[in-house]
């Protein structure tokens, strides 16, 4: 089949780029523990407020050996519980979140935390750090109804 000489080079270059990008990301995952949000199990939305750890939203010593604290958050139309959280600067925090109604999204500004909050699922974000003291905004980033644009909370690192 006819493939132009330059195009063949171009195809090889593209292919190399793809493999290189895939490798770079694997290195970031394996070498630097870059991670994606994962499931920490399922839960019935109706039972959220009476089931541990969501019966006591907020900051607790972590039940996971790799983390200092668990930040437990409930999403509902159209607010987060708790609406204001205080965390120590520099601590290694694990976020656990779930929804009692529709799909929400958790985006913590100026950190790497970004996860969908889906009814029936417990979302887990590992290795969240608040390196500087100050206010970190937490937005809902999935459309969740008529007041979606007012669904925000704050994490205060001090």
């Amino acid at each position: 089949m006819e493939i132009d000489r330059y195009e063949r080079w171009f195809m090889i270059a593209t292919f190399t780029f793809i493999i290189g990008a895939a490798l770079a990301l694997m290195i970031s995952v394996v070498g630097h523990h870059a991670s994606l949000a994962e499931s920490a199990g399922t839960i019935n939305p109706e039972d959220v407020r009476t089931t541990a750890p969501f019966d006591a939203p907020g900051l607790h010593p972590s039940t996971d050996p790799d983390h200092d604290y668990d930040l437990v958050i409930i999403a509902q139309t159209w607010s987060w519980t708790p609406e204001e959280m205080v965390v120590p600067v520099g601590a290694n925090v694990r976020i656990l979140a779930t929804s009692v109604d529709v799909v929400h999204g958790l985006k913590l500004k100026d950190t790497n935390a970004n996860v969908m909050v889906i009814p029936g699922q417990i979302s887990e974000v590992r290795d969240v750090h608040f390196d500087e003291a100050g206010t970190y905004w937490l937005f809902c980033h999935e459309y969740c109804g008529i007041q979606h644009h007012n669904m925000a909370a704050r994490v205060i690192a001090e």
């Binding site: 089949m1 006819e2 493939i3 132009d4 330059y6 195009e7 171009f10 195809m11 593209t14 292919f15 793809i18 990008a21 895939a22 990301l25 995952v29 870059a34 991670s35 994606l36 949000a37 994962e38 499931s39 920490a40 399922t42 019935n44 939305p45 109706e46 139309t77 109604d101 529709v102 799909v103 999204g105 985006k107 500004k109 100026d110 790497n112 935390a113 970004n114 996860v115 969908m116 909050v117 889906i118 009814p119 029936g120 699922q121 417990i122 979302s123 887990e124 905004w137 937005f139 809902c140 980033h141 999935e142 459309y143 969740c144 109804g145 008529i146 979606h148 644009h149 007012n150 925000a152």
Partner: protein
């Protein structure tokens, strides 16, 4: 290969203005064969118009101006749902229906089955009316992604089903026409134009099965109250199985135009028949990568996400191959027009033809959009931008420009071809194409800078109680979004002015109307015969889908039906 369109045999309403010299380049095609194609195109443009109207309302909202009262809509989100459905489903599906049908006729040199063509049109109309009613009655403010447990009225889901069925009817029509042709040409290569049209249709048929199962198997029974509860995570998996390759379905008709038609318009040729076939095969095989839209979904394990991530990067391959090939065709055309030097040929391209300028500028937007797509596809880097305003910034460059601006450009020859009216307002049309690219650059720049600074997408800026506290980056993001969106809207207005001016043009086209299709330098005889074996590629796509999604579903386990319905808008 010339057919005169006999005015005697046509539908009466259009007769009077048909000039005696209007002929088209497909044997045996009558006005009745063209009518359903033309009407599908009109329906597509109704979708574009609705989308543009909602677009200006969203842009105005960023500047604290409320247009929703004027449009008699209840909310920003009702408008945003209409924007998404009108553009992502109605505009794109109906254009594909029209375009693939006319290309199929041209490729196989005969009309398509007229009954099926009309059936596709009516089913599409039915879908549009049901969905439009549901949305305008504020019974379906669920966005075009309709994630459960937001619960729309059943009419909304039926509307989506009928729109998809209209595309399946076109697929069936192409398959039947192909088989008819094959019976007469047993050992010939499939015409390139027929092959790419068929592959586009086949890809979408396979890809749409996910959303078909989601809607027919879960959403409709649930919204009708036959079952009480639904699994929000699992229905998302089904949605995004289709939700990624739906992008191919938006894009591939435009790829057909860029590969086969644009070279003709600039006086160049298609370099390699085989390469074009390979690119379209790649898109069929790479259907099952939808998990990369769900990198931040909790219910999907790391392994499934990793597999999807690597497969996703391979999509970059057919796209860069396409870029190279099309640049080669353009350069040949530019040099044939007397262009010299490394880039001097670019100036010699026929920029004064809006069908050319629109597609070239769309290509520029698409390249930037494709590059920004690598960020979304990149696993952990995606954490920075997932579901932020960066995403609309990205896809207004790809589908909103690469596709939408190309479709507008294609209309500049397709509308005269289908109506027998001379193009009206060529200069306005050229201006329109430049305005669109300028507008989208401003718009996307704004959305992307906001998104990188965590601004969420699908969020009513004007009503928010936290936007004002986020500082100057968000203010700039909103300002640029408003300005860019307004420029795009003005461009859309000019487009409709030209289309209406053309349809109402008293001047008929003269002579034979041709679908611009370029010649191939290295023709099919040099490409591998196996490329034509559509069944093998379909089988590979199915096997890969079963492997990739089999793993996802196996890991997922049983259904987690926990959610009743919510109407919270």
């Amino acid at each position: 290969m010339t057919a005169t369109l006999d005015p005697q045999s046509s539908d009466a309403a259009d007769d009077v203005r048909v000039g005696p010299g209007w002929e088209i380049d497909i044997d045996g095609v009558t006005r009745e064969d063209l009518a359903p194609v033309r009407r599908q195109l009109w329906l597509a443009l109704v979708g574009l118009a609705l989308g543009a109207l909602m677009g200006i309302a969203q842009a105005a909202d960023r500047a604290d101006i409320n247009l929703y009262d004027a449009f008699q809509l209840e909310s920003y989100y009702q408008g945003l749902t209409l924007h998404g459905v009108a553009l992502a489903f109605i505009f794109t599906f109906c254009f594909s229906n029209a375009f693939l049908s006319i290309l199929g006729m041209r490729a196989y040199g005969r009309p398509l089955n007229r009954m099926l063509a009309n059936a596709s049109l009516y089913v599409a109309w039915l879908g549009v009316l049901l969905a439009a009613w549901a949305i305008l009655a504020n019974k379906a403010t669920v966005m075009f992604t309709f994630y459960a447990p937001l619960e729309a009225t059943p009419a909304f889901y039926f509307g989506a089903v009928f729109l998809v069925i209209s595309t399946w009817i076109v697929f069936l029509n192409l398959v039947l026409t192909h088989r008819q042709w094959r019976a007469e040409h047993e050992h010939e290569r499939i015409p390139l134009l027929g092959f790419v049209s068929l592959m586009t249709s086949l890809m979408w048929f396979l890809a749409s099965l996910g959303v078909a199962i989601q809607v027919l198997g879960f959403m409709i029974p649930w919204s009708l109250g036959w079952v009480d509860e639904i699994d929000p995570q699992f229905t998302r998996i089904l949605f995004w199985f289709t939700g990624h390759p739906i992008v191919y379905f938006w894009l591939l008709p435009v790829y057909i135009s860029w590969y086969l038609s644009l070279p003709k318009l600039v006086g160049g040729r298609i370099y390699s028949d085989g390469l074009v076939r390979m690119v379209f095969i790649a898109f069929v095989v790479l259907i099952p990568v939808g998990i990369h839209h769900q990198f931040t979904d909790p219910g999907i394990p790391f392994t499934s996400k990793s597999v999807s991530f690597i497969l996703t990067f391979f999509i970059f391959f057919p796209s860069t191959v396409t870029a190279f090939s099309i640049f080669a065709s353009l350069e040949e055309g530019g040099r044939a027009n007397g262009g010299t030097g490394l880039i001097g040929w670019i100036r010699k391209l026929p920029w004064g033809n809006p069908a050319v300028s629109g597609q070239l500028l769309a290509g520029i937007g698409f390249m930037l959009g494709g590059a920004s797509g690598l960020i979304n596809a990149s696993f952990t880097v995606n954490n920075l931008v997932h579901n932020t305003a960066f995403i609309p910034g990205h896809f207004h460059l790809t589908v909103g420009t690469g596709v939408a601006l190309s479709i507008m450009a294609i209309c500049y020859w397709l509308v005269p071809y289908l109506t027998g009216r001379e193009l009206w307002g060529r200069r306005i049309a050229v201006t329109q194409t430049w305005l669109w690219l300028g507008g989208v650059f401003i718009f996307s720049r704004g959305q992307m800078m906001g998104g990188i600074d965590s601004m969420p997408r699908r969020t009513q800026a004007s009503g928010s109680n936290y936007f004002d506290a986020q500082g100057s980056t968000w203010e700039w993001a909103n300002a640029l979004t408003a300005v860019g969106g307004t420029v795009m809207f003005v461009s859309a207005l000019l487009f409709f002015m030209v289309v209406i001016g053309t349809v109402a043009n008293p001047i008929a086209v003269t002579g034979r109307q041709e679908i611009p299709i370029a010649e191939v330098v290295h023709g099919p005889r040099r490409s591998w015969a196996i490329l034509d074996d559509i069944k093998i590629w379909a089988a590979i796509a199915v096997v890969l889908t079963v492997v990739v999604y089999g793993e996802v579903i196996w890991h997922y386990g049983g259904l987690n039906n926990v959610s009743g319905g919510f109407r919270v808008w």
